[in-house]
Each structure stands twice: as C-alpha cells, then as structure tokens.
C-alpha cells in the first residue's frame, strides 16, 4: 500500500513538472473557455515547439498577490501573464520590457502604444472587446439625410430615432437600462467622453448639463421597456428595437441567429469626439520569469493571425492583429469584427479604459444620475451633478487610483 502511495506521489510530481512554463491569466476564467485555450491553442503549440504550457486562471485578487509575492521574492514560477490593461498597468514595475518580442502579426501602432507605460513596453496587446451599435437593416430606410452609419453622431441618432417614431409610431431605439445591464459603461465610456471629453473630470461641467438634456430628449424615442432589459440581443431579435447599443458579447447572439438582418457599426460621436471603451487584454513577462525565451515564443504564437481568429471563435474576444481582422470567417463574427475595427479606427476616437482600483460604487454614481435625470425625467440639476462629481472624485482619491483614459493621460 505504502509503495502504491509513493508511486502515486511520484507520478503526480512528474505530471506537475511536465509543463515547461506556467501562464497565469485573469482572462479565460470560465471553465469552457479555459478548456478551449488548453486543447485548441496550447496543445498545438506544444506539438509545434515542444514547449508545454500550463494555463493557470486566476481572479484579479489572486493574480495581484501572486505577482507581488514573486516580485518581492526575486524569483518566480510564472513565465507569462495575461490580463486586462488596467491589471497589467498597475504592475509595470514588476514586468520586463517586451519591446524585444516580435508579435506573430502586425499590431496597430496606436494599440501597441497602449502597452507602453513610462517609456517601457509593458505588454503586447492580445485581444480586445468593446461596446457598439447594432442596426436592423429595416432602420436604414429612416436614416436622416447626410448621416453615415459608419460615422454617426449623437444628433444623427436622435433624428433617426425620431424619424422612425414619427413614421411607425414605435420607439425603436434600445439602450440596456435593466438592473444587471451595462448601462454604466454607456454613460461613463460613451456619453461622457463624447460630450465632455472626459469620464470623470467633467462630470459636472456645462457640457455635461447639455449631455443630460440631450439624453432627456433622446429618451422619448427609447423603447419604454429599456429599464427592464439587461442585454439587447433579445429585443433586437424580437424587433422591439431596430437600433441598439451594448457589449459585443451581449448582441452577438442576435447576429449569429440572423446575420443577414443586422449590421454592427461604431458608436456615435458627440461634440468632443467618438468616445468608446476599449477592453484590451495583453501579454506580459514578469521580471522573475523562469524562462523568458519560451515566454516570448508563446507570445509570438498567440499573436499569429490564425491563433487570433481561433481566440475570437472560442471566446468572443476580437483580434489585436491587423491580418486577423480580415481572416475572420464570414457570418456573424465578421459582421461584429467589422464594426469593432471601424470603431477602433475612427479618426475622432476618444479611447476610454474601464476604471480600475476603485470601489464599484462608481457604477452607481453614473447609473443614479441617469435614473434621476433620464428615467425619472427630473430637470437637470447642477447642484446634484456637483455632489455626485465630488463623491466620484473621492472614490479615486481615497483609493489612490489614477483616473482612467482619457482623463488620466
């Protein structure tokens, strides 16, 4: 019996040391996604290069403490990291310069520049997600004259929704405003930057007052069931709305089911520009990486167009590599990918990052303001905006967190 146990322990030890490098990631945490990456992406890599990779998914808190511990110890087990921009940026000091690593495809220089922190290339962009507009082709008949769906403005959107309402008697514009919706992203990453140029700093500015007044007007043409919707795929499919804004993964299902009926286009632009959120995940090598060479090979492999397309198909994250955008198979994903790259390439883009390092109460501040001025329809009150703005800034100051782009350039 004892021998058996000993054998087991030995075998386990052998298995555990079988992987050559460990890749820790805050992404791919859903079990299905993790399995997909292990079987469809890492297994071929091991065959190709002889380097086996152990994917270790972790929540942000665990990720943080592990990186800090290894950095302080001066040696570590983790060879490569994958995290969102905000996750990696906060550990710039513990990460090696990856400017010497050659990606497997061409990464757009503006995207690449996001990974440069304090003059150091902290990470190589891997994949991105965003929020955009999805249109039912039926809405195109009512498009205001001179408006271009690939470069809409918020004024176009208002006129468009109004045209549809006047012609059909129905409010065909959809914004997810339910309890579990991503409404806060629309407010802090789209409306605010487009109208004021900032997510946080101009919360109570004159431009913000104009913005809330605009929203009150737009709201007349938003489907009244919006406060019960958490995702826009269902209302798009049931045609309760023809024009909708939401996260790519929350509209994907509509396009997958009826790819011929929908178009994905960039979010509108306001007086300050076209504000949108870039959810950007990158690959980094810790200074304590036991095998930086193997890590660089993995990064190169993951940024080849073929692997980038695989990642899109398996996880719904969009490629960071230019060649991959054209290699996406026809159908729903291509429709979405086209909208995502058109939005990213907008000349008037104001790229926003999701706030990090502060309590989630910030979401409530944006949503509450929306609730009061838009859903309840109370007159826009500068005093209230000032109070909310003060609280919002306090959250950043108390946590010692930097303002996210575009505020904290």
């Amino acid at each position: 019996m004892k021998q058996l146990i000993l054998l087991g322990v030995l075998a386990f030890g052998l298995l555990a040391s079988a992987a050559d490098i460990t890749w820790m990631s805050t992404q791919f945490t859903p079990i299905a996604e993790g399995e997909f990456v292990r079987n469809q992406i890492l297994a071929p890599f091991a065959e190709e290069t002889g380097i086996s990779v152990d994917l270790l998914t972790a929540e942000y808190a665990e990720f943080t403490s592990r990186i800090e511990a290894e950095y302080e110890a001066g040696s570590g087990e983790i060879a490569v990291l994958c995290g969102l921009h905000g996750h990696l940026a906060s550990f710039a000091y513990a990460l090696a310069d990856v400017s010497g690593v050659t990606p497997g495809g061409t990464i757009n220089p503006t995207l690449m520049a996001k990974g440069q922190i304090g003059g150091k290339q902290v990470y190589i962009p891997l994949m991105q997600a965003t929020y955009l507009m999805v249109l039912n082709k039926k809405a195109l008949d009512y498009l205001p004259e001179g408006a271009d769906i690939w470069a809409l403005t918020y004024d176009d959107l208002l006129q468009w929704a109004k045209n549809i309402y006047e012609a059909t008697g129905e409010q065909k514009l959809g914004i997810p405003a339910g309890p579990k919706s991503l409404l806060h992203r629309f407010i802090h990453g789209y409306l605010y930057p487009s109208f004021t140029g900032y997510q946080v700093l101009a919360f109570d500015s004159a431009a913000a007052v104009d913005m809330w007044n605009y929203m009150q007007e737009l709201w007349q043409y938003v489907n009244p069931a919006a406060p019960t919707w958490d995702a826009m795929d269902t209302p798009l499919l049931s045609e309760e709305v023809w024009i909708a804004w939401d996260h790519t993964s929350r509209v994907k299902e509509a396009i997958v089911q009826r790819p011929n009926d929908f178009i994905a286009v960039p979010s509108p632009a306001g007086p300050a520009g076209r504000g949108f959120i870039s959810v950007l995940a990158g690959l980094a090598i810790p200074k304590t990486s036991p095998d930086p060479e193997a890590a660089a090979k993995l990064i190169q492999y993951l940024t080849t167009p073929e692997v980038q397309v695989k990642i899109l198909q398996g996880t719904g994250f969009f490629p960071a590599v230019a060649e991959a955008a054209g290699a996406v198979p026809a159908g729903a994903l291509q429709i979405l990918a086209k909208g995502v790259s058109a939005q990213a390439a907008s000349p008037d883009a104001i790229v926003c990052f999701i706030p990090g390092g502060i309590p989630d109460e910030y979401k409530k501040i944006y949503k509450d303001t929306f609730y009061k001025f838009v859903i309840q329809g109370e007159p826009v009150d500068l005093e209230f905006l000032r109070e909310q703005a003060t609280r919002l800034r306090e959250l950043y100051i108390e946590a010692g967190a930097p303002y996210p782009a575009p505020d904290g350039k």
Partner: protein
C-alpha cells in the same frame, strides 16, 4: 464516562434541551450569527463605530422610492392575500367533493421559486407576451402595449401585485386551513343551536377562534412582503426600486457590504415593528378564550 453521559442525557430535565440543541445550533449559525454580523457591518467602519453607512443609505437617490414602494407593495399585497386566502380556506373547509384536490392545486405555486414566478408573469406582460398576443389576435388592440414601463408605472405596480398574489397566497391559505381544522366542532354546533348561520357564524365564531392563525399568517406574510425582491426585479427592473433590491445591489453590484447591511438592518427594524404591532393589536389565544 459513557455511563455518566447516559445519565446526563437521560435525565428528564435535560432531555428537552438536548432535543432542542440541533435547532438552536441551526438558528445560531444560520440566523443569529449573520444577523449580528450584519449589525456589525452596518455600524462599524475602519474607524470604529459610525453612522456613515446609514447616512449613505438615506442620501441614496433611490432610497425614498425604495422605501415608498416597499410599503406600497406590503400594504397592497398583504390584505389582498389575507382576504383571498380566507375565502379559499372557508370554501375548502366546507369539505365539498374534491376539496383536497383544490387544496393541493392552490398550494402549487408555493413550490415555484419567486424569480421563476416573476419570469412566468413577465412572459405574460412583456411586449411580445401572451396578453398582447391574445388581445392582438382578438382584434382588441392594434399594436402591442408596453405594460411594464416607467410610463405605465401603475400597471407595472399592479403586475407585481398580481404575481405576488398568485405566488404567495398559498402560504396564508395553508396556515388558515390548519387553523380552521383546529377549531372544535363543538363551538360551531353550539353556534348553530343558538341560531348563528352564514356570515354571523363566520364573523362571531370562526374569525375570533382563527385569530392566532391569522396572526401568524399576517406576521409571516408581512415580513416576506417587505422582502419582496425577485418578482419586482423580473417584472419591473429598475422602475420600482424596493429596499431588499437595493440591499442586493449594494452587496453584489457596488460591493459595499456596509451599506447593504444598513439596508438589511432597516428591513429588520421594520419587520420587528410590524410583528410587534400584530402581537399587540391582534389578541392572542388566551384573550379569545376569555372574550
């Protein structure tokens, strides 16, 4: 040692306490501990005792609305359910053929989770739901009506009341049926001998004897009504905020357990106050006997 333990367990005085122990442990671990924890979280911050979380709760944009709708739901739903359940219980108690079948049928919604119940009603009232489909096909309406919207807040409110009424009346019914069955036939026969019939019998004999059951049913239903949340969430989304919902959002969306606990403590205080009112003003069994 074993013998001593057996002696200890076996004594008549201690046995009841041993038997109560599992329940006490259960209540302690799953009810009292979280309760004190919540009170602690609501009043204790990084710098010790504080009322900041309550201030934050009260100054919350949605607080007044949440308080208003919580009470509105409770005072609409509870009396409505009590009357319906009483009518159903009296009917079932006549023991007509198949009354047991109806008892089970009426109790059926009890087995449905509240969120599921909310979703069932959502499929009726939603834009492309059953109600709109039926009305449209009958030619009564030209286009689907938005029942559940902030523009139609009264209907949204009533739909929540309807769903709750459908879902939770059975709990009151079951308590009242049990109460009715405990009323001794002697009282009813005596009443009939003295000439009390129909309404008179119900009003002067059955209802006073049913008071203890009514009291428990009211306490349970009111506390649950104050906690109504999943049905509201499913049907009304953000349109009609309620206290329990705000507590949930503070805990899981905004991740501030302190403010969430402040909401929980407020709900607890309201529940205790209501329970006290029922205990104080709805006489207990002994008073009924004396009366």
């Amino acid at each position: 040692m074993n013998q001593r333990l057996r002696n200890l367990l076996g004594t008549d005085t201690l046995l009841p306490y041993w038997l109560l122990l599992p329940t006490l442990i259960f209540i302690g671990v799953f009810f009292l501990m979280p309760l004190f924890e919540a009170i602690g979280l609501a009043f204790h911050g990084d710098a010790g005792f504080t009322l900041d979380y309550f201030k934050k709760m009260v100054s919350d944009v949605r607080f007044i609305d949440a308080l208003k709708y919580t009470f509105l739901f409770a005072i609409t739903i509870v009396p409505l359910q009590l009357i319906t359940a009483l009518a159903m219980a009296l009917l079932l108690n006549t023991g007509f053929r198949g009354s047991r079948f109806f008892l089970y049928l009426f109790a059926l919604p009890l087995g449905i989770a509240d969120l599921a119940a909310g979703l069932i009603w959502l499929s009726i009232f939603t834009h492309h739901g059953f109600l709109n489909s039926i009305l449209y096909n009958l030619g009564i309406i030209e286009r689907p009506i938005h029942y559940l919207s902030y523009q139609n807040i009264n209907f949204t409110f009533l739909s929540v009341v309807a769903a709750e009424h459908w879902r939770a009346t059975a709990i009151v019914l079951v308590i009242l049926v049990a109460g009715l069955q405990m009323i001794s036939k002697d009282y009813l026969e005596a009443a009939e001998v003295l000439g009390a019939r129909g309404w008179k019998k119900i009003w002067y004999v059955i209802l006073p004897l049913l008071k203890p059951s009514l009291q428990s049913a009211l306490i349970i239903r009111t506390i649950f009504a104050l906690q109504t949340f999943a049905v509201v969430l499913a049907l009304a989304g953000q349109i009609t905020p309620v206290l329990a919902g705000e507590a949930y959002f503070w805990q899981f969306l905004y991740r501030d357990s302190h403010v969430a606990s402040a909401y929980a403590v407020l709900l607890m205080v309201i529940s205790i106050a209501m329970t006290w009112v029922y205990l104080r003003y709805l006489g207990s069994k002994t008073e009924v006997m004396r009366g």
